[in-house]
Symmetry: C2
Subunit: 343 residues, 2 copies
DNA sequence: TATATAAATGTGCTCGTGAACATTTTGTAA
DNA sequence: TTACAAAATGTTCACGAGCACATTTATATA
């Protein structure tokens, strides 16, 4: 049942060559005659040889370095904070295998990002995990020859033009569609109703995604409930007191595309029937979910994403496996009754 | 930043003893003088020595065996089928580390389970992963001395009396509560409404869980919407034609606690406004979700559960780590708009 | 003190691979 | 054919820990 494990020595004997030759074929080091190469490859295929990774990483004494270039995980920024947590936890386990992570946390400016990426590249890392928030500014750095050959894992923002190896994130358009479906189920079917899309406290790092969410949200209603009227507002500041439309009573639901849904709380007291859908399990949002001001939170699972991205990269470094180019995480729907299971 | 890794040899030199002596101290093999032992232990503590697990498992030539005792994963039974899938996929990666899985699939009878568990124990496995469906019958087997010392991972059913090492599963009571909340949000607030809890096509292996779901469902409504009337029906057979109450029109929603919600389809055509919540992403359920007969599916994520359980056990075997005693998975809420991301 | 015996300590080989090095075979030009 | 480099192939050691075995040291007995 369980396949016997073959060693280089076994292969060598069967192919009637030395272990060194097999090693050269397996690791594509060249210096092997075509004839020998074929014999070895035949045996390799025949026995389905898989190198013993334990032995391999024992022998390799130099550490493999993964440079992690992400926004600074300050506690206020739950997304990157949790993401960093996932990365660090995954990193601890990889320590065993001689993989070490070097962190380059940047502040949210193009300059900081560029600096950190350059610093990271100076290390000559074996792989780079990064969140390319300022993607336009990135292009010159990416095209530089320094980047050549280093496997790149992207998180949060897939930039197709880049030659990345793997991407971990979500589909923001679908996230918007899902929010719309939830809203559609939540609100009572009035003959006429208005819903507000609110981009609150927007941060440059997610601006692009917000547009995708908006598109998805609108697309859903266009397909399923065209009589619903949808307005959109954006506020960069955290202070909504005077900015929010006074006529909130016209609306029956608010879709907050950022993690700032909790900012609405003071306004919501006047509109107890308002349905609110927001993002991310930040403490303030959780509190509002429990008081009933927020009805649904969508969880992007940044921690799992960080974990997944690091694991994909390290798996590639260690085992040279083919990796999925895209890994889209499901969007978890969080209500009060299943909140606990997510935290 | 990164702590240097010390080897037995390093310790030996500093403690002015031989590598063998250090080895004896580290592995508590005895045959060391008190004086030497102290010297070595001091150095060990000083340098915070951690054995290199890679080298250790390279040397260990005998495989570690995990016996997997779960219901037969036939394609009809999506839960165990996916669970087995997760286990097998996790197993493939562990192959590398000399961990092999031996399967003992049982048919759903006490006898079959007992037989398989005994067969598994005869192997003298290093760990056991099992789904203890027939838990009452288990007790004698568990108390037997054969079980002593073998780490046990439970999946699906936590049995507190057992001395298991780790459990992976869900909280069924909370699952019921969540379903209730979703139902509560879905149905329009009529002055009087009746909701049906349906245990359809019940299988002995989940019978206990179904009761928990029912309790949770009822508890939620008792707390939040006491005027809702809740009826309960159970059908073991798959043929509901004559069994289902004719007066379905009295009900406004149905909570199906099993993966058989799709069986309702023929009846639902007559009741287009009926809200249905079911479990598991089986193809038939998915089809009904897409046609709109089923509104929400709760996904128990059996595959991830299998993966998690195997990984926890093997991590313990390889690295002797402390493991979480309980790992409760969130219940995913699946609508048409996020269905794709789960399959 | 010599001798037997146990306890303590040290040494050497092994696991499978990678890489440096040593050796053999092949190819090419005089 | 000889000479000699280049290419191909073979050999050896190292990685760190575990374990069997060899060796040294301490203790007890006559």
């Amino acid at each position: 049942m369980h396949p016997k494990k073959y060693t280089l020595q076994d292969i060598a004997k069967l192919a009637q060559v030395s272990r060194g030759t097999v090693d050269r074929v397996v690791n594509k080091r060249g210096k092997v005659s075509a004839k020998a190469k074929k014999r070895v490859e035949d045996v390799l295929k025949e026995l389905d040889y898989k190198p013993n990774l334990i032995a391999r990483s024992l022998k390799r004494h130099k550490d493999l370095v993964i440079a992690v270039v992400i926004p600074h995980p300050n506690p206020q920024d739950i997304y990157w904070n949790q993401c960093a947590q996932g990365i660090e936890e995954a990193g601890k386990k990889l320590d065993q295998f001689g993989i070490i992570l070097k962190y380059f946390h940047y502040h949210k400016s193009k300059e900081s990002f560029a600096t950190m990426l350059e610093l990271a590249l100076e290390l000559n890392p074996n792989a780079v995990l990064m969140a390319p928030i300022h993607y336009e500014e990135l292009k010159p750095l990416f095209s530089s020859t320094e980047m050549k050959g280093i496997p790149i894992g992207l998180i949060n923002t897939p930039i197709e033009e880049l030659n990345y190896m793997t991407f971990v994130g979500q589909d923001y358009y679908k996230s918007g569609r899902l929010a719309a479906q939830l809203m559609d189920n939540l609100v009572e079917p009035f003959p006429k109703c208005k819903i507000l899309i609110a981009h609150l406290g927007i941060d440059t790092d997610h601006a692009i995604h917000l547009k995708d969410k908006e598109k998805g949200f609108k697309a859903y209603f266009k397909e399923h409930n065209a009589k619903v009227e949808i307005d959109t507002v954006s506020f960069a500041s955290d202070n909504l007191a005077e900015d929010l439309p006074n006529q909130l009573e016209d609306f029956i639901g608010i879709y907050v595309t950022t993690s700032k849904a909790h900012l609405l709380s003071t306004h919501l007291n006047k509109h107890p029937k308002m349905k609110v859908i927001g993002y991310d399990l930040v403490p303030k949002n959780i509190a509002q979910l429990q008081t009933g001001n927020i009805h649904i939170l969508l969880n992007q699972n940044p921690k799992l994403q960080g974990d997944a991205c690091i694991n994909t990269l390290s798996e590639h470094l260690l085992y040279n496996t083919e990796v999925a180019r895209k890994r889209l995480f499901p969007i978890d729907i969080v209500l009060t009754e299943n909140l606990e299971s997510y935290i």
